[in-house]
Symmetry: C2
Subunit: 179 residues, 2 copies
């Protein structure tokens, strides 16, 4: 199972691709950050996020996209941009028929560290260990994107199998009608 994790943001949108299955060692396929200039117009920043996500989807062809679920109790200005960047990531995936899963920050922290209240350093340390990296991915948004992908692989195997079965069934039914 190959998952693209997206830690949404307008200034820095973390992206990380992890491959593997629950219970086996995981492999990092790629990690990076899509950046947009803070002084650009909002519509142009969203366009730049779209182009960045599209490039990651083109290059790595993930089967699932895991996006951080955004809450509005945080900083008011930041959260709107985060919500909008996450919308772009979800839209890019949906356009390609890739299933999208949302995970909350505490679900992600709990999945990789055992505690929903772990700090950034702890998440970075566990991501480094779990993916057998030489050093923690920088910036934190990149590490968070990998953590999201790991969380998805570990949390949702049953859910994923169901989604894939539905997708296969739908593809089969469609083929049946075409033939």
């Amino acid at each position: 199972m190959r998952v693209l994790g997206v830690d949404p943001g307008l200034t820095r949108c973390g992206v990380g691709v992890v491959e593997g299955v629950a219970g086996r060692p995981l492999t990092m396929i790629g990690v990076g950050v899509v950046r947009t200039p803070a002084d650009a117009e909002l519509s142009h920043r969203l366009l730049a996020v779209e182009q960045g996500i599209e490039e990651w989807l083109d290059e790595h062809r993930p089967e699932f996209v895991a996006v951080e679920r955004v809450f509005s109790q945080h900083n008011v200005r930041t959260v709107m941009g985060t919500a909008q960047a996450s919308a772009v990531a979800m839209l890019c995936a949906a356009r390609r028929g890739i299933p999208v899963a949302l995970h909350t920050p505490s679900e992600v922290k709990a999945a990789v560290t055992g505690s929903g209240r772990a700090d950034k350093a702890q998440v970075g340390a566990m991501v480094t260990r779990l993916l057998r990296l030489a050093a923690p991915p920088k910036p934190a948004d990149a590490a968070d994107a990998l953590a999201l992908a790991i969380c998805h692989i570990w949390r949702a195997p049953a859910q994923n199998r169901l989604q894939q079965a539905v997708a296969r069934h739908t593809a089969h039914a469609t083929k049946g009608r075409t033939a």
Copy 2:
């Protein structure tokens, strides 16, 4: 000047196209609502909003898109969907190189009624009068989208001329490089 106004929302996204210039009678070109089912997955709802907005852009070829600026002091659940739907509208416009303007609800109300605190009925009544319609557009989201377009035509003539000049200059410079 032809403007597509967008009152963003996931359940109902109001869209309205108005043509005219400040100081002359305005003409309604079209009005409607893009709806997405509340029980669909968020990524699929965003995709449906994108398809709806694309259809309006294809059919009416606006020169400007005016979107309501979303604030997060409102209902927490609703505002995230609104922010995400507005991101999709901005993205669709930016992809086509159409300038996007954001106007706050009180700017829109003040533009069409003279008061930033006007209620929905007052906005609907003024939209009906200004566009010489037989009845107020329903639902309110549709009327709000028309009000946004009117607000943009009235508020931003100087700003629009500047944006168009920049666009012409950029197009000219690009042409110069290609030749």
